[in-house]
Amino acid sequence: MNNPYIPNLVVIRKITTENEARDIKTFELVFKDPKAMRSFGYRCGQFAEISVFGAGECPIGIASSPMEEDSIQFTVKRVGVVTTALHNSVEGTVIGVRGPYGNGFPMEKMEGRNVVIVGGGFAFTTLRSLTNFILHEANRDRFKEITVIYGARDPGELIYKYDIEAWGKRKDINLNVTIDRAVTGWSGLVGFVPAVLKEVAPSSENAIAIVCGPPIMIKFTMPVIDELGFSPEEVYLSLEMRMKCGIGKCGRCNIGNKFVCKDGPVFTFEELKMMPREY
């Protein structure tokens, strides 16, 4: 029987510090066994369990696009024992990864349609995977208009600046990057994500919306999404809960009878409305 609790060994190839506070880093990982990389095959919106030997394991969303064939990336905020140990690791360290887990974003449903991507703060990681996947030359034709709205507290907290710069040069993406309050040296948009979404007002016609962000952003974004005419089945959200096993066994990430790890983490707004409010 295949043992799902055994991680694959990976080497940290590159560490990129993403924000001014230096508590968010992106780790580029390469499988020690190339066969394991191929069998890892993941989709946007899935997550994996990262093992730092001696510290433990934690679930992290996959930040790289499945189109990248030789490595996978995770963007990790330093919050607890495992993430701190990971932040203290250096390039070349061997850690563990098992997965991919969860359902991921509904890629098939997005094909031939407009995609509206709304994200706030550090939750942008799997949305970055999604954006890069759609923008890849092999995939771009399969999707119609792409609108991205991404907000952070201030310019220093914006992650993936290198991607944002590259996206900004393209004509085939409507990119809107905003910060909460005006600061000198920032010439971009200013305002909270819901307000910017309202202003950009992407059409809900033949469109799907993907929303990830802190609870407060979600709370104020959903009414705007509703106003724009998106029906709840066409809006997808990615949830977070405390997890240990990632495979629906340890019993702590359930919301009602659904496990966020295996039935989610991506749910439609319609599904979410049917679930008890315990998240």
Binding site: P4, F53, V94, P215, C250, R252, G256, Y279
Partner: protein, 339 residues
Amino acid sequence: MKWKTIEKRNFSALVEELAKENEVIGPLKEKNTVTSVRITSENEVCLDFWNTKKPPKEVFFPQTETLFTYRTSKNDAEIIESPAIRKKMVLVGVRPCDSRSLVLLDKFLSSGEHKDVYYLEKRKNATIVGLACNHPLSTCFCTSLGGSPSGKEGMDLLLQDINDKYLIQTVTEKGEKLLEKISWLKDAKKADIEKGKKLSSDAEAAVRSKVSLSDVSEKLDKMFDDPFWDQICQKCLGCGVCTFLCPTCCCFDVLEEGEERVRIWDSCQFLCFALQGSGHNPRPSGKERMRQRIMHKFNYFVKNYGKSFCVGCGRCVQECPVNLDIRDVVKTISARKVE
């Protein structure tokens, strides 16, 4: 189905016989409690007991279990998988409620894309020799959950105490095979079987504690925000004994110990159980945690697997330090008017 009998005084000889090819695990009297332990020539299985303090889940899902060990060096790491347990096990004296709990655990832990190999490997190698209850306790309520004091669900063999001897009933082929090797067992007489049947029906009638679960799951669907949860959680201390001793509760935590990754029993009744890295806790007080336990047993599991995640063994009723009785909780839900 075959019926055999064995004189009580010969039972240890049977255990000895089984121990030749199997690890035999059975109830043992220790001080004031009965616990399931490995039976060797040094100790003797005790079949005169109400029920074991801890349920048999710990044989397959130990309180602490090493998932794997590892070695790390400066720029490398190596994972050493724990060897699969190939030794055959025979569990003797498992009560019908506990045997049913294993069937429920099998359902849950083998469900979905990823199976719990640690549990299933051990389970595969085990034969369950059950023991019918002739004298149910006042806290027993197995019949309300679809069980019975002489239920055979999850068993390979069923023993029943018929005074001077045990009546043995084969339930599965696995159980039959186990007996084939023991040639000296006598075939049961008609009178023995009749006696067993009489004791079974008497025991069934002796389970006086009853709760009606017919509409509980449905009611719970509409009771998530009911003020009722505020009331029932008031006296709970959050000690978690109900979940640890529950034969079906199997939540666990995963952590590092030295160069080992281990899993340990965990409880939804603890504050940190669902506490997130950000500091947010979706179940911040006893109210949400009590609701999770009851909902999981009588609503969520029913939705996912068609059965309640409780077998009515009564351990949580007996051991709760503040006498919080799950039967009362269920009765209150059942009596509640919901829109």
